[in-house]
Amino acid sequence: MFTRNWKHLCRRYSQAVTFRTSEIYPAQHNENQIGLFYTIKPDLCKQLFNHGGLPKSFMKQTKTFTETAIMVRQPALDIMDCIRASDMNKPVIRYVLYGEKGSGKSLTLAHLLHYALEEGYLILHVPWVSEWLRRTPRHKEMTNSQTKEGFVDLPLDAAEWLLHFKTQNQALLKNCELKISKDYEWSKREKTEAGSPIAALVEHGINRVKYACDVIDALLLEIKILSNSKQCKTFVAIDGFNSFYYPMTRLNTPTKKKIKPEEVTLTNSFLELTKNDWNNGVVVLTIDQLAVPDENQESFLPRYLLYKKGFEHLDPFVPIEVGRYTDKEFLSCANYYRDRLWLRGPSDLETELKFTSASNPYNFMLQCAPL
């Protein structure tokens, strides 16, 4: 009895060693931990991803597995190395994550966000651009912009983003001296004075939803100025960036006029942010086929998905491909699934699953589901 338990324990231990890493700080991750899973603490997870950021299917998994574990993979490590090695006084470097559907772009971005939080960056994270431009629930709030002629505001989405920004940067907004540089007059009575903290600006946007888009515009401008003057370092992460450059959105004005993405105020604010006319920051974008409709998903490469305009907008950028699992990663993932009881059965199941899923992480997860 004892020996059997002992054997069992040994096996558990050896398994635990091969697929899990106890290093929970992304800044400490290195080549040795490639393919291993690390766990994000629940409270941290809530802070970072409460308003979106993790894919829906992954959220379901975290509930079943009772933990949020992300695999350490090469693309994320590459970007971290690049960030560490780069000179912050030079214009920002744009990193573009691209890859097939379900290869883990969003999760790589989540890993990087965790890194940015640990390193004390100010995070500007857009969970999924298509949520604004392509998803049209029955009551999508939409108004004509009052400050810019011919533009359209998405006040509710903007306010939601501000809330997301606030929860992600709680600590920085509380005790940092991030001041705004000029007066903003919203209406006759409402005004934000120069020198008040940016938290006040955010608070105003959340309370007065009507002005949320203008607040975002101002906020992003102020953050650029603050980063230029080295008061904070900024980490911009936009998921599904190519949605900004798809010729049409699915939004209609009440007069049934189709809206182009460049006619939305939010688009312009965030495109300003992805220009390289500022420094002391990092910009990580993902380009996803899922962000555009089915008929325009022929290729996952940046030039195709960004169109000429978007490609020229980003032009010197660092493309980083997020690929399928390597053999080692696949094995460790399979072990992890076995540990979480998600995968069971004989061990030659893995070889077959590897073949049928073509080592695509999302497909692999899906195909394990009914087993």
């Binding site: 379901k60 077959e352 589901a369 009914p370 087993l371």
Partner: protein, 237 residues
Amino acid sequence: MSNVLIFFYRRLKNSSFNSSTRTLSKLQIRNYAKATSFPDYYQNPIFRKEDQVKLIADSDLKNRATVPVKPPTVSETSSVYFDPLVNKVINHVMEKGNKRLARQLVEKAFENIKRKQIERYHLASTPEEKAKIELNPKDILYKAVENCKPLLQLQPIKRGGITYQVPGPITEKRSLFLAIKWLLETTDEKERTVHFPEQFAWELLEASNNTGKVVKRKQDLHRQCEANRAYAHYRWQ
């Protein structure tokens, strides 16, 4: 009929060559329009690896080598996760030959079962409780079907102008058919807002616990058979 003709035609053609190996290889080639249009003497294919190993071990292979064999269908694979009962259930769920959708629905139901059970597993506090929880959805399906299988059936038999519901034994095949049919019929009695996979998962879990509507239906049938035992002699009189 045409298949048979082609078959004999080929045999004639080959016999002129007088090459035995060639005849054998030619026999394996079949021109057919539908999978169902095979003559009676065509044997069912043996496509599972373990069955093939058994065949070789029993040295039955020689006998089968000369007999023509039907091709396996697309779903009959030697894959590790092929399961005959699951395949059967998928075929029952299928409508208008849309097997892809049927398979997706059943697999989704399995996923739901798995998620529910894993959640319960994590909630359970003691190891004994954890050991009790069945995590494999296929095992749950087997258990559920086993629990739903009726042992007796009622046959309407006309005697003296009156139709009696006469209890009698049931074949293995029909009881399996009834079990799957009842499971699916009960699943269909759902609210419109509930999706098939959710309800099916629920029914399977219930049935595997020996509770739920389907098991009750089986017990009702047994009770009816018990009540009608007086008519049992009509089966042979």
